[in-house]
Amino acid sequence: MSERGLLVLADGTVFGGSSVGADGVASGEVVFTTSMTGYQEVVTDPSYAGQIVTMTAPHIGNYGVAGVDDQSAGPACAGFVVRSMSRRDSSWRSEGSFGAWLRERGVVALSDVDTRRLTRHIRSHGAMPAAIGSGVGEAELVEVAASAPSMAGRDLASGVATREPYEVAAAGASVGHVVAVDLGIKRDILRRLSERGLDVTVVPPGTSAADIVAMRPDGVFVSNGPGDPEPLVGPTETVRGLVGEVPVFGICLGHQVLGLALGARTFKLPFGHHGGNHPVRRMSDGVVEITSQNHGFAVDLWSLAGGEPPQRVGVPGAELLPERVETAFGPVVPTHQNLNDGTLEGLRCVDVAAFSVQYHPEAAPGPNDADHLFDRFAGLIGGGG
């Protein structure tokens, strides 16, 4: 049996388990995801930087690992917690064991944890800093946890984004050129852009609007990424400089940055949205998409409306969002809404070509219901230029 490991939260709550990853101590904000499949995509998703991820699905590692599932060059999260790590995997796609993969890549991970207790704790007390480790005493972990920074106010994107621009060629004939502002981009986003015939230039978060315009792109994509959008002053500035110049499409952190660029504020959700089953209503036709989500902050459109959100009663409805807000770039409308808590899931500028969604149309992991958004972006580029 593997060595005993511990997870200690900043509030002093202790969870026991056995170490199934690398030795050592790690700290970060502990969150949970309810995705039932796609553990490898989760661990390699740069948006989880700085976080210890708990999988609520009990069995992890069942089908091994496959290189194509990586969302970045390697693990991105700070630590990993599961109920039961499979000691054997089985899949025709498998290239190896997930446990070994974690160990080789230095991810501190615990198994045999009462992850439901942990999830309930996070649900009622909010996502909080924590420390995870094996071969160390509880006291040490308590200390590490207590001094672990919170997510708010930290620029985590620079740490995970590319430092040098690089190109991803269109799969097949090219229909346009897109610059992607990397805040921690997932590979499946690049794959889906490329599949639409788009040549993509991925640029570091610090790239200025002028530099991007100089690349003469047909569109700009603002990527997902970890943590709090507010400290991302540079990227926000960049996006502000691009809206109205070229079609802009943002996903997740990219959506939040677009929101900030439009003048809205963002706020921290109690324990975020992480999972593959969030219902999102498309406000144009009422259709509900089941979406993949991974974020701890959200855009507050009311901050632009100059009003207060009404009190929620029962299942959330459209009344929880302002119908339309005025910005320096003209009117902006909410396009998507989360039906679990009523928060904003997508917005669109009415006069200029810019739109964004809070969730992950690229799935990976999660449902493909919103894949058509990439078509829409490609359409904007093809149609408008």
Partner: protein, 1080 residues
């Protein structure tokens, strides 16, 4: 799009009797749907012939028709009630079929009703396998390649195209009959020839066999706004080739990567759109090649199904309820998820636990059928278990089955496995049988290795390795002994105290004490649809061994109701009915009912039925853990059949109060000696009988009581292994066979002594259900069996009020019932079976519990026995309840109610189809009419029999039936039938003036009865088995009749009853009346 206001009343079609492949899951779904529709303010009309269902309780629908689900009758109900719409997607295949037929007949247009939930076109597109395959192909979705063939040569050509092995399926055959896999041309020719013969349209499908591939099922919902969600993905542990209903299944899917799962999800949603399922739940089955990941679509069911019930229980997402809301106009996002109360139903449940379903089989009752599983479903029930991990859930599910096993291993049951040679074991893991899972466990214990076992069984290595963890733990536990054991780890792998006790050769209570001392106790977790992301409102729990316990603080009005576990022949939906009534009665009386059960098909395991639901195995350990958490003021053990009775002792010992009849009274009724003593004391006659613990003693007892005798091992329900024996030699042979001794060696009957009764020949049998409160006896009714004593009460048709029992005998029956109720100290229900000869009455058995007939009698008389009994158990008197208006007067309103049993012979073609003291029925139907004949005719139709209106009846009777047979034959002659008979019978009839032509012996001469049947010259058979062993011509004739699909009655009384049904005429059958109109 909210509720449709253009509809006022809706007809819901039920699924009829419980048969293999279509069980009480449709009571669950129908009940949910009716509740919802009523809540939405619609007038609900229901047709369902199954009286044992909750949905047919008069308080659910506005008009309940317990009538046969045939096109004629359903049309009659529509004509009478004039509903605006018909909802056909909640009553299984039965409802879909009758709907499709009514659609073909243009009945819906004619009567101006709309179909909601599914259109006739969508039903057709999904049900017609050829059309379905074409649609899939057009959409670019993979299906097994194959072709429809009408001759052997066509099939041979198709097979070489597709490549061997191939799967052969006859068209339009119910339940997969005649299906088979052919590995080569020779096998193919055989199967195809038989298949073409079997198919009513002379057609078979020859398709690529994907035996051994992984099998998955997705439960999908769609609304009219084109929103779709996957409620649950289920993975079959048994690979393709074993019907999903017979497979061990696991939720969520375990071995699919996210990409594969999402592609499957996308395809499932597309399929719903292609088929045109506008609203509601559907089930889509996929096969995946484990080597390449290639995926094909196997089938889709455009309706709520068995797996939707499983998925609902597995996730907490109430599919049927939501399907009903969608059918009347709502969209998924307009319906709240009632578990969270705050989020909409347009989401996909996230599971933080593992669910395992294990089917339950009753092959022992069908000795000519090898217990090998295939593409035709044969399981009669299932148990589901929830654990935090697969090993835990698997072990819990295995002990939930009540087949004597305590888990995957480490119990008395493994001795037989350990006795197998390595070769035998290697062979056994390659053959899917009910025992295979244990073979796999044993093979791992012997160190055969995960890869070898996975290869041999075609079970995915992931599952095999998880089982290997269990096996390794068992070995560790054995090595350490109780002192060094890591108890927590063992419990987290699902080991029961019984397993640990077995390994360490101690008492389970010792293990419990040790655990308690170590602080290792059951913790309860909530099933909340969302993996704890939101707060749950609906208390639905399962036990596991974790750090946090979510069970609520105990109240002071809590009453635990113990359910009846997995369905099996002899203990099915009827017991669930009583448990559900108890929950309702308790809630009405201000108690908090808490349900414990492990059967996912039932209404009792709906989280809405009780204040709290614990989805747990019904074993001492699991139930005591619930009781410890809930601290009930009473535990109800009377309503779930034999299962809770077996838990009484442990509950009593732990100090939990048993409601009503005290544990000792239960013991008296179950203990032969004590019961006989009581009968003697009360002066209640029993057939002469005795108990034997050796062969010699058995012979003596038989001599003393006199042949023929009825023999059975003690402690069985459903008459398992019960036999009528006519001679001493036969007795000897039977016992040796039963106790598994080689001829000559001494047989030890001590473990389960054998009970020997004088078999009462030519006696009528009656069932009585009554409630006793210590003073007053409330008799539900006297049910007279149509078949005579010797045919199990569960297999016999019965009728209320009785018409062939003398006044004097009835008086005695009531007197004996009162005496026994008082003598036993019953507080609550009692069921007694009597044999009656003239005025003489013998008690066959008394059960101080609910019986199979409680729901039937309640529907026949309008008296809710189970509810009254529940209140009586809690201390109320019948008189007081009457004062509160809870005991309606049973009215003799001139109506006759007949219950008919439904037998699973079509799934067991190798069996003879004879009725006997061993129960084999899976379900029942009820017919109500002003006269016996019409009521019986309705029951026959409801049971799926075709009754000929004329033609030739073939009669062949044993000597003892001949006298009675004269009257029966005369009735057929009067009805215009031509009578053919075997030699002796014909002679006997002719001598009494009945024109009967005689046939030859089978295989001899031109009047060979089997040939005549095959040629379609005979329309009905009345054949009673001759003498001791029914072999020879009789059995060939009965089999031929079954194959030809003509009615075959095996008792002379049954033959007479059918004649009376025919006399009553056809019109009567479509004269329908609702229960509410009868008992306003």
């Amino acid at each position: 799009m909210p509720r449709r206001d253009d509809l006022e009343s809706i007809l819901v079609i039920g699924s009829g009797p419980i048969v293999i492949g279509q069980a009480c899951e449709f009571d669950y779904s129908g009940t949910q749907a009716i509740r919802v529709l009523a809540e939405e303010g619609y007038r609900v009309v229901l047709v369902n012939s199954n009286p044992a269902t909750i949905m047919t309780d008069p308080e659910f629908a506005d008009a309940t028709y317990v009538e046969p689900i045939t096109p004629e009758v359903v049309e009659a109900v529509i004509a009478k009630e004039r509903p605006d719409a018909v909802l056909p997607t909640l009553g299984g295949q039965t409802a879909l079929n009758v709907t499709a037929e009514l659609g073909r007949r243009g009945a819906f247009e004619r009567l101006g009703v709309e179909l909601i939930g599914a259109s006739v076109e969508a039903i057709e597109a999904a049900e017609n396998r050829e059309k379905f395959a074409r649609l899939m192909e057009e959409a670019g979705l993979g299906t097994p390649s194959g072709r429809y063939c009408r001759s052997v040569s066509e099939a041979v050509a198709a097979a070489s195209e597709v490549g061997y092995p191939v799967m052969v399926r006859p068209s339009y055959i119910l339940g997969g009959g005649g299906t088979g896999t052919a590995a080569d041309r020779e096998e193919l020719e055989q199967i195809v020839a038989a298949g073409i013969e079997a198919s009513p349209v002379g057609e078979v499908l020859v398709e690529e066999s994907v035996v051994g591939w992984k099998e998955f099922e997705l439960e999908v919902m769609r609304d009219r706004n084109d929103n779709g969600v996957i409620v649950c993905a289920i993975e079959n542990l048994d690979p393709m080739g074993v019907h999903t209903g017979d497979s061990i299944t696991v939720a969520p899917a375990m071995t699919l990567s996210d990409r594969e799962y999402q592609e499957m999800r996308d395809e499932a949603l597309r399929i719903l759109r292609i088929i045109g399922v506008e609203t509601g739940g559907s089930n889509v089955q996929f096969a995946v090649d484990p080597e390449t990941g290639r995926r094909i679509v196997i089938e889709m069911n455009p309706r709520v199904s068995r797996s939707s019930a499983l998925a609902s229980k597995a996730t907490g997402f109430p599919i049927a309820k939501i399907a009903a809301r969608l059918a009347v106009g709502y969209t998924l996002d307009e319906v709240a998820n009632d578990i969270t109360g705050a989020t909409p139903a347009s989401f996909e449940p996230a599971l933080d636990y593992v669910v395992v379903k294990v089917p339950r089989f009753d092959f022992a009752k069908f000795p000519n059928t090898p217990p090998v599983l295939g593409t035709m479903m044969r399981s009669v029930g299932e148990a589901m278990a929830i654990g935090r991990t697969f090993p835990e859930a698997l072990q819990k599910a295995l002990r939930s089955l009540e087949t004597g096993r305590a888990g995957l291993n480490a119990d008395a049951g493994e001795a037989a496995l350990q006795a197998m040679s390595d070769e035998e074991l290697t062979a056994a893991i390659g053959v899917p049988t009910p025992e295979r899972i244990f073979h796999v466990g044993e093979a791992l214990r012997r160190g055969m290795g995960v890869d070898a076992v996975a290869r041999g069984s075609m079970i995915d290595p992931w599952f095999v390795d998880q089982m290997a963890e269990i096996v390794e733990e068992r070995q560790a536990l054995e090595a350490t002994g109780p002192d060094g054991a890591d108890l927590r780890r063992a419990k987290r792998l699902g080991f029961s105290d019984r397993q640990l006790a077995h390994l360490w050769d101690v008492d389970p209570t010792d293990v419990r004490t040790r655990r308690r001392d170590g602080g290792i106790e059951t913790t309860f977790k909530t099933v909340d649809t969302c993996a704890a992301e939101f707060e749950a409102q609906t208390p639905y729990f399962y036990g596991t061994f974790e750090e946090e316990d979510e069970a609520p603080a105990p109240g002071n009005r809590t009453v635990i109701v113990l359910g009846s576990g997995p369905n099996r022949i002899g203990q099915g939906i009827e017991f669930d009915y009583s448990c559900v009534h108890a929950a309702m009665a308790l809630a009405d009386a201000g108690y908090e009912p808490v349900m414990v059960n492990c059967n996912p098909e039932t209404v009792s395991t709906d989280y809405d039925t009780s204040a709290r639901l614990y989805f747990e195995p019904l074993t001492d350990e699991d139930v005591l853990a619930v009781a410890a958490a809930e601290r009930p003021v009473a535990v109800i053990v009377q309503l779930g059949g034999q299962t809770p009775l077996n838990l009484t002792r442990a509950l009593d010992a732990a100090g939990h109060p048993i409601a009503g009849t005290p544990p000792d009274a239960i013991d008296i009724a179950e203990d032969r000696e004590r019961f006989s003593a009581l009968c003697r004391e009360l002066g209640v006659p029993q057939p002469p009988h005795g108990t034997a613990t050796s062969l010699g003693e058995a012979a003596d007892v038989a001599d003393r009581v006199g042949f023929p005798v009825l023999v059975r091992p003690s402690y069985v329900l459903g008459g398992r292994a019960m036999r009528v024996v006519y001679t001493a030699d036969e007795l000897d042979a039977y016992l040796k066979d039963l106790y598994g001794a080689a001829a000559g060696s001494e047989v030890d009957l001590n473990a389960s002594p054998v009970l020997i009764d004088r078999f009462l020949e030519a006696a009528a049998e009656v069932d009585v259900d009554a409630v006793f409160d210590g003073h007053e006896l409330l008799v539900g009714g006297i049910m007279e069996h149509v078949e005579e004593a010797g045919v199990h009460s569960g297999d016999s048709a019965c009728v209320v009020p009785p018409h062939g029992i003398s006044e004097e005998a009835q008086k005695r029956i009531l007197g004996h019932t009162a005496d026994l109720a008082r003598g036993l100290g019953v507080r609550g229900l009692i069921n007694i079976q009597f044999a009656v000869r003239g005025d003489e009455v013998f008690v066959l058995e008394a059960n101080p519990r609910a019986s199979r007939t409680v729901p039937f009698i309640a529907k026949a008389t309008g008296v809710p026995l189970a509810r009254i009994a529940t209140r009586v158990m809690m201390g109320d008197t019948i008189d007081a309840l009457r004062g509160d208006g809870l005991v309606p007067a049973s009215r003799a309103d001139g109506f006759v109610a007949v219950k008919e049993a439904v037998l699973p012979w079509n799934r067991f073609p190798a069996e003879e189809g004879l009725l006997g003291p061993e129960m084999r029925a899976t379900g029942e139907v009820m017919g109500i009419a002003p006269d016996f004949g019409t009521a019986y005719a309705k029951a026959l139709l409801g049971a799926g029999h075709r009754i000929p209106e004329g033609g030739t009846v073939f009669i062949s009777l044993s000597d003892r039936d001949k006298e009675y047979g004269v009257d029966v034959a005369r009735r057929y002659v009067d009805l215009g039938f031509r009578v053919l008979a075997t030699g002796g019978t014909a002679e006997f009839l002719a001598a009494r003036g009945i024109p009967a032509a005689h046939v030859d012996k089978v295989g001899e001469g031109p009047w060979d009865p089997v040939r005549l049947i095959e040629e379609g010259k005979i329309d009905m058979v009345v054949n009673t088995p001759r003498g001791r062993r029914a072999r020879g011509d009789g059995s060939l004739i009965r089999r031929a009749a079954r194959k030809a699909g003509i009615p075959c009655v095996t008792t002379v009384q049954g033959g007479g009853a059918v004649a009376r049904a025919l006399q009553a005429g056809r019109e009567g059958v479509t004269t329908v009346q609702s229960l509410q109109a009868r008992h306003p």
